[in-house]
């Protein structure tokens, strides 16, 4: 484990939905270049936790510190610009935008021109547009999708839509990437491809990841460390081999006493 200060510190995080206590006093830390896996039965609060970190929903209490900044009151778009990108459990692409435009929208906060320059289509506006066009094309090239740059995003296959969503998240140049069940609905071959892709992303972009996945072999192989959630509580945390032998985890997953 690295000795640096953590990238993300979550402390005593709580979330109520009405009377439902979805996330209970959750605390953990995440370090640079670390892959943190989150597992737990359905309804354990995994997606809620990701929504809290990315600002899609606001926490009831607790603190989150990312790169030295408090995040619990920030809006989703502000958090994204700080460097936390995410994908969704159900693919959320901009379906009526082209594959290229899906990427470009994520680059847009980096390019710089005023509304007036946009209305007049000044030289600078075109230069800036070109910049984001080129950067987006390069990213699409890395994902082998540049030949379909001008197709509608909705015309892509399921697997490619997943990959495009990951590419769009990377266009934000994040320090932390949150992946919510990226292998959902994929067969074994596709899952292996995805694993290779994620490994390559981590090398190429040097970022931390938090990953939710039901596919256990996948997440055991991929993560440096695992958090196990059950009913919103932290049940256990540790390396995959530690988790594999944890009695409480086996109990929660299989729902019965081991002999």
């Amino acid at each position: 484990m690295t000795l640096n200060a953590p990238l993300l510190t979550v402390n005593a995080l709580n979330k109520y939905f009405g009377g439902m206590h979805a996330v209970v006093d959750l605390s953990f830390e995440l370090y640079e270049n670390e892959c943190l896996g989150i597992i737990g039965p359905n309804g354990a609060g995994k997606t809620t936790l990701l929504n809290l970190i990315s600002g899609v929903t606001l926490s009831t209490s607790g603190t989150m510190i990312f790169l030295g900044q408090a995040m619990e009151k920030k809006r989703s778009s502000q958090i994204a610009r700080l460097g936390i990108a995410r994908t969704f459990q159900h693919i959320r692409l901009f379906k009526q935008l082209s594959v290229l435009e899906n990427i470009t929208t994520a680059y847009d906060h980096e390019i710089n021109y005023t509304l007036l320059e946009a209305l007049l289509r000044t030289r600078r506006m075109k230069q800036e547009e070109n910049k984001s066009y080129k950067a987006s094309m390069e990213l699409l090239d890395l994902f082998g999708m540049s030949s379909r740059a001008h197709h509608m995003a909705s015309s892509l296959s399921y697997g490619d839509q997943r990959r495009l969503e990951i590419a769009r998240a990377l266009a934000l140049k994040p320090r932390l990437l949150l992946l919510d069940e990226p292998a959902a609905g994929m067969n074994d071959a596709e899952t292996r491809e995805l694993l290779a892709l994620l490994r390559w992303i981590q090398r190429e972009f040097s970022l931390s990841m938090i990953l939710i996945e039901h596919h256990l072999p996948f997440i055991m192989e991929f993560s440096d460390r695992l958090l196990v959630l059950n009913f919103g509580k932290l049940l256990a945390q540790g390396t995959p081999s530690q988790i594999r032998q944890d009695r409480r985890v086996i109990q929660a997953y299989l729902g019965e006493e081991e002999a």
Binding site: V56, S77, R92, L93, Q96, E101, I111, R123, E129, R168
Partner: protein
């Protein structure tokens, strides 16, 4: 002349039969006419501008009147399409913004500065009308942050009713009788100039990062936020811009009809604009032109049907929703109108 046309048609038909030949024709055309590709839209709008000055000299007043209505409707349709088509909200209150533009500009041309020469007065009226509609749209724009979809549609409808009953009860604005004796300042060139301004602004806006973000909000607001788009400010901006152009259309309308009362801006007016948007096609500027054009012409051509005209229009809408729910040009753009990333290169 006619035989020449047939000869040309024959040539194209025969070349179409031979695909190889057609490709060659197309290629040579492209090689020799890159300047044409670059300036075709400018040429088209230039000729139309000349036409807007010449046509009124040769046709009777009725035709000019219909043409001006067509242009005003196109402006309205494009402005509503920004909110309903590109951003994916549903505004029923567009007639209210039109009314705000119409009333504020009429106050200017009728009472405040009627003595200015028309060449100065009318542009001033257009700007004032647009701006006051834009400013008055702020409450709706702010509410659109908190409210979405059906609920926002109801709020825009309520806004329309508020504006209408406010106008009916302010006696200095003529109350239910409205304002009479407005000067007929709207000519075809003026209307066309406003159309050009609207078209050019919206086309450039939509080809910018803001345009992309507006369409991203329509497709998935949560994802748009998650990639760093500040959807709040963008929603406000879109509503304000859309209302500005609705206000401009209101100015033109008031100075064309030369008489306005609160009833000119009722829910039917809003509905008519909606029909144009969904007829021509959502999220398409060429669709807006097509929709407004067809609607205006059909509305005039169906006049002999009398009361049955009010049956034909809704029927058209029903058929459209069944067979082409996003309109004739929905989510597509005529190639002359579209701005592709390639055109950003200098």
């Amino acid at each position: 002349m006619v035989s020449m046309l047939y000869a040309l048609l024959g040539y194209f038909l025969s070349s179409m039969l031979n695909n190889q030949n057609l490709l060659q024709v197309k290629k040579t055309l492209e090689d020799h006419s890159s300047w044409f590709l670059k300036y075709r839209l400018l040429l088209l709008f230039g000729w139309l501008a000349v036409g807007s000055f010449l046509i009124p000299q040769f046709v009777n007043e009725y035709v000019t009147f219909v043409l001006i209505s067509l242009v005003i409707n196109t402006i309205l349709c494009m402005s509503l399409n920004l909110v309903n088509g590109y951003m994916g909200e549903f505004s029923l209150g567009h007639a209210a913004f039109m009314a705000l533009g119409a009333y504020s500009s009429t106050m200017l041309t009728l009472y405040i500065t009627p003595s200015l020469p028309p060449l100065l007065l009318f542009p001033l009226a257009i700007v004032i009308g647009g701006l006051s509609a834009a400013i008055m749209s702020l409450p709706i724009a702010l509410l659109s942050i908190k409210t979405r979809g059906d609920y926002l549609a109801v709020i825009t409808l309520a806004f329309l009713m508020i504006v209408k009953s406010a106008l009916e009860n302010i006696s200095s604005l003529g109350g239910t009788h409205g304002l009479l004796g407005i000067r007929g300042l709207t000519t075809l060139p003026w209307a066309y100039g406003c159309f050009l301004f609207t078209f050019w602004s919206l086309r450039n806006l939509l080809a910018s990062k803001w345009g992309r973000s507006i369409r991203a909000i329509r497709d998935d607001e949560v994802a748009a936020e998650a990639i760093g788009i500040s959807t709040r400010s963008l929603r406000i901006m879109t509503f304000v811009i859309s209302s500005f152009f609705a206000g401009v259309a209101g100015v033109l309308f008031a100075h064309q009809i030369q008489f306005i009362n609160p009833n000119s801006f009722n829910i039917l007016k809003s509905t008519n604009i909606l029909v144009m948007v969904y007829l021509g096609g959502v999220a398409s500027l060429s669709g807006s032109c097509l929709g407004a054009g067809l609607f205006t012409l059909l509305y005039q051509l169906l006049q002999p049907l009398g009361i049955w005209r009010s049956v034909m229009m809704p029927l058209l809408l029903v058929l459209l929703m069944i067979f082409r729910p996003s309109g004739m040009m929905g989510f597509r753009e005529w190639s002359w109108f579209s701005l592709t990333p390639a055109q950003n290169k200098e």
